[in-house]
């Protein structure tokens, strides 16, 4: 493949990441004091940014339908009523559901006319170790089933070999296959090495046409961490300064508590500014997070610490 396919020489970085600085800075975002009123706003915002996800071998149509119903109306009626009356919150829904390609049509069917998007993982998720044609076909199938968003995995093998042109051209090909669907590029930061590699992969993905960059599949530990997300947010910022294009961010995997979600929102606001505080440009890939957000919302309005017994299991 010709090196001219990519606009940048990715072997050398524009700048390297200072590991100590990035970890210290990420840790500092967790120390902000957030007052009650802002906390409620933040929890609702985080809820609206969730990609409710199920990516298991045991997923069934029934489970996906149930999850879609939760996606349409995650907040129990009594709690929603309080949020509307006291805090003028419009009825909340999550941003999207995220499923395997086989279950996209079920989700589309269940979410028609609701504004909740359907995202599908594709390109041989989670490993991506399949021939290019099969991965492209994976994207086309998900598209034709009605997916609004495609979460693709990068070719980590090629990335680690330093074969950046291949990675670039593959992402560009998937972007073309996506058509109008949004492309989220999963870097799988737990597999690609250090922060420099994360920054390099982020820039490469954005140059190749990613609408979102995403940390992880959720199948590999460590998944999303705050320092890794910070490195990616800074790459998004630099990309924006250079091109004027706003690329979205999706930390996924490992974010289970409302407290962590608020920390991420603080980091987002202080790194990229208020423009990014929208589900169009920031998502949480999570399954367990939604319940904790609901429990914390209920706690904020009732003053009582909540129990998982009173919230749905999935």
């Amino acid at each position: 493949m010709s090196p001219s396919a990519s606009s940048r020489e990715y072997g050398s970085l524009d700048r390297t990441v200072d590991q100590v600085n990035v970890e210290e800075r990420a840790a500092r975002f967790t120390k902000r004091s957030i007052k009650n009123e802002s906390k409620i706003q933040g929890l609702c915002m985080a809820l609206a940014m969730c990609d409710l996800t199920t990516l298991e071998g045991k997923d069934t149509e029934g489970k996906v339908r149930q999850m879609c119903r939760k996606a349409r109306q995650p907040v129990p009626n009594d709690l929603q009523r309080i949020l509307t009356d006291r805090y003028q919150m419009a009825p909340l829904s999550v941003a999207a559901v995220c499923v395997y390609p086989n279950l996209v049509s079920t989700a589309v069917d269940e979410l028609r006319g609701t504004g909740v998007k359907v995202a599908s993982v594709a390109t041989g998720f989670p490993s991506g170790q399949y021939p290019l044609e099969i991965r492209l076909q994976d994207v086309r199938e998900a598209r034709s089933s009605g997916a609004d968003e495609i979460d693709m995995v990068v070719n980590r093998g090629a990335l680690l070999q330093g074969d950046y042109d291949t990675v670039f051209e593959e992402i560009a090909a998937f972007k073309a296959a996506c058509g109008t669907a949004h492309l989220k590029v999963i870097l799988e930061t737990g597999e690609i090495g250090n922060y420099d590699a994360v920054r390099r992969a982020s820039r490469l993905a954005m140059d190749a046409g990613a609408d979102f960059i995403k940390t992880s599949t959720g199948k590999i530990q460590p998944a999303a961490t705050m320092p890794v997300t910070l490195v990616m947010l800074e790459a998004i910022r630099d990309h924006y300064y250079e091109t004027g294009v706003k690329v979205g961010m999706k930390p996924a995997g490992g974010i289970r508590t409302a407290k962590e979600a608020l920390h991420y929102l603080v980091m987002l606001a202080e790194t990229l500014g208020d423009d990014w505080l929208t589900p169009d440009l920031f998502r949480f890939g999570a399954s367990g997070l939604v319940n904790d957000l609901l429990m914390q919302l209920a706690k904020q309005v009732s003053g009582r610490y909540q129990s998982a017994d009173y919230f749905s299991l999935d």
Partner: protein, 264 residues
Amino acid sequence: MRTVVRKTYKMLIGGQFVRSESGRSLEVGGVNVCHASRKDVRDAVKAARAACSGWSAKTAMNRGQILYRMAEMLEARSQDFSDVTALQDVENSIDLLVHYAGWADKYQQCLATVNPVAAPYFNFSFAEPMGVVGVACGGTTLTSMVGAVAPVLTGGNTCVMLASDQTPVMACVFAEVVSTSDVPAGVLNILTGIQGETLPHLAQHMDVNALAVHSEDARSNGLLAEAAENLKRVSFWPVGEARDSLAAISTFQETKTVWHPIGL
């Protein structure tokens, strides 16, 4: 001439010795102890909830062994209590723990029943632990403290114990016994402070399944109303009154009844 190293008495939450997250402390009898806050209560309940499935799933015999191990450790550390209570009190506590250790694999036989029903079903009931139980200790003896938590633990519940306002140091020394025995982290959490502050938070908490109130001073009219929100079972225990062990254990048990079809 050396300077005596003074001990910091800490609370036991999730198997860890911690200070109050609030940083507050209280002076009780010339000793500084932690002054637990609402968030400490929350952390303790969280730890107790996390420990619940593991503790209740242990075999009855295993739970008995662990309670017995607690008695062993109490025996070995009985001198640690010399500043806070009489040796006789410690010995009574050890005996009480051994007594409850024995009950661990026996109460089920006493509580479970086979029920006569006028239909083709094998109908039986048995006791299951309620889950997380909050215990507000009363009295000034170690025996009363052990007597308050032992029936809760014996039955497979996990416990958030609020030490009596008068004897926080004794509770802290007892926490050291607990953590050096085989009790899994989070099964027994021990908070010190003022029960008048912490007990209402425990009563409000939706993830607490039952409350056992042994202290006189923490009883307030609002307590039952707060506890009613998630139908907590609240029991009041007069200090120093002799009680039936089986009745005490069954106070923290929920009855499950199974209708098993037969003859079909």
